[in-house]
């Protein structure tokens, strides 16, 4: 059990896909302009990541090294399309909100990166825990970023007004530059705390 917890924890901080591995940043900057979008993106991302990791781990012995990347892309694209079709048919209002990001999931380097670095070499159960850990690690960062950007850029949080209507929003917070700015602050903060911990040890 301790081993699984370590795999999950690994995704949350020491190998956080956004803050430490620094991959898949374009979609992070794109979706973090509102908390609702960030939540939905986390949901789609987790679905595609966990299922792709399961399938790739299952097939890892029959996938030859030479063609592993096209197969990863095929598997990821299949699950992304399934997610699109299912959400369109049964959760149309959610689909309306996330359709823009669904396309970003296919090209999300985190998913292909985890397929290559983890599930291609590990068992199914380990891969599921890796998927869960990475999803949490991805989710908390984008939701935190979205909360800051939405509050200052729109005066609301998850659609609820926190600043009075007279507050004139800082439009820059909604635009990509502020996304990178906040991302930079978070990366710095995490690096700082991790290093302090190391020194203590």
């Amino acid at each position: 059990m301790k081993k699984y917890w370590r795999i999950v924890w690994n995704g949350i901080t020491p190998s956080n896909p956004i803050l430490i591995l620094a991959i898949g940043l374009c979609s992070v900057v794109a979706v973090t302009n509102s908390v609702q979008n960030a939540l939905l993106m986390t949901f789609v991302f987790s679905f595609v990541l966990i299922f792709s990791e399961i399938i790739i781990s299952l097939l890892r012995k029959v996938i030859p090294g030479d063609i592993r990347v096209p197969i990863f892309v095929l598997v990821i694209a299949t699950f992304t399309t399934i997610a699109t079709l299912l959400s369109r048919a049964y959760f149309n209002s959610i689909y309306e909100a996330i359709k823009l990001y669904i396309f970003l999931v296919v090209v999300n380097c985190i998913i292909i990166g985890r397929a290559e670095a983890f599930s291609y070499q590990n068992s199914i159960v380990d891969s599921i825990f890796d998927g869960i850990g990475m999803s949490i690690g991805y989710g908390w960062v984008i939701i935190a970023m979205a909360a800051v950007r939405e509050v200052f850029g729109n005066g609301t949080i998850a659609g609820f007004r926190v600043f009075p209507a007279s507050y004139s929003p800082a439009l820059v917070m909604i635009l990509p530059p502020a996304g990178f700015l906040i991302l930079g602050v978070l990366v710095g903060w995490l690096e700082f705390t991790l290093r302090k911990k190391k020194v203590k040890k």
Partner: protein
């Protein structure tokens, strides 16, 4: 040679499995999606032309007044007294992907309403175009799409001139205005032809 064959075979098998899985999911979800699209269209039609009207699909090719705007469908609006207007489904290129919308025009050459059916504009910016609670004119509580209501179809429809643009979303504002203008031109020609020479 053998190796290439083997790799091709493996890739082919995995591709076939994924294709099969997608086909299975589509078989189940396809009819639901089509039914939903039809419903969205119906709701959209009655939104751009509120009132007790029947909508009848027109099978006619229209001349494109603007090369970037596409006309995807046309619906004649009928009441008990005859034809009262025309709703056009147009596609105009937005900042991320084409914007699909419905433009309703009355026979008196004014816009009755505009509705966005599908768009992938930036959330918080261009996406505000379809948000009924985002006011471009805060004093009169006018949303971006509402401002088109009642405008003459002969207007220029240029953002920042006779159309209020969305802050930070010039491309979206421009795309929608272009779509409305093109639809207006098509409608004008259509009614002119129908009424015949004076």
């Amino acid at each position: 040679m053998n190796k290439i064959l083997k790799l091709t075979l493996i890739l082919g098998i995995i591709g076939a499995i994924s294709g099969g899985a997608l086909a299975a999911v589509y078989k189940v979800t396809g009819p639901v999606i089509r039914a939903q699209d039809a419903k969205t269209l119906q709701v959209g039609l009655s939104e751009v032309f509120p009132g007790d009207y029947q909508f009848e699909r027109l099978n006619e090719e229209f001349e494109l007044p603007d090369p970037v705007v596409q006309i995807d469908g046309a619906y004649i609006v009928k009441s008990n007294k005859g034809i009262v207007g025309l709703v056009l489904q147009v596609t105009s290129p937005g900042s991320q992907a084409p914007i699909k919308m419905l433009v309703g025009t009355k026979k008196d050459r004014t816009v009755s309403g505009v509705k966005i059916l599908e768009s992938l504009e930036t959330p918080g910016l261009g996406a505000n175009a379809s948000n009924p609670d985002y006011y471009v004119d805060k004093e009169n509580k006018l949303s971006f799409l509402d401002q088109f209501k009642g405008k003459k179809i002969s207007d220029n429809f240029i953002p920042k001139e006779d159309v209020i643009a969305i802050t930070g979303a010039t491309i979206t504002s421009d795309a929608i205005a272009k779509g409305v203008k093109a639809a207006g031109k098509v409608t004008h020609n259509y009614f002119k032809e129908m009424e015949g020479p004076e």
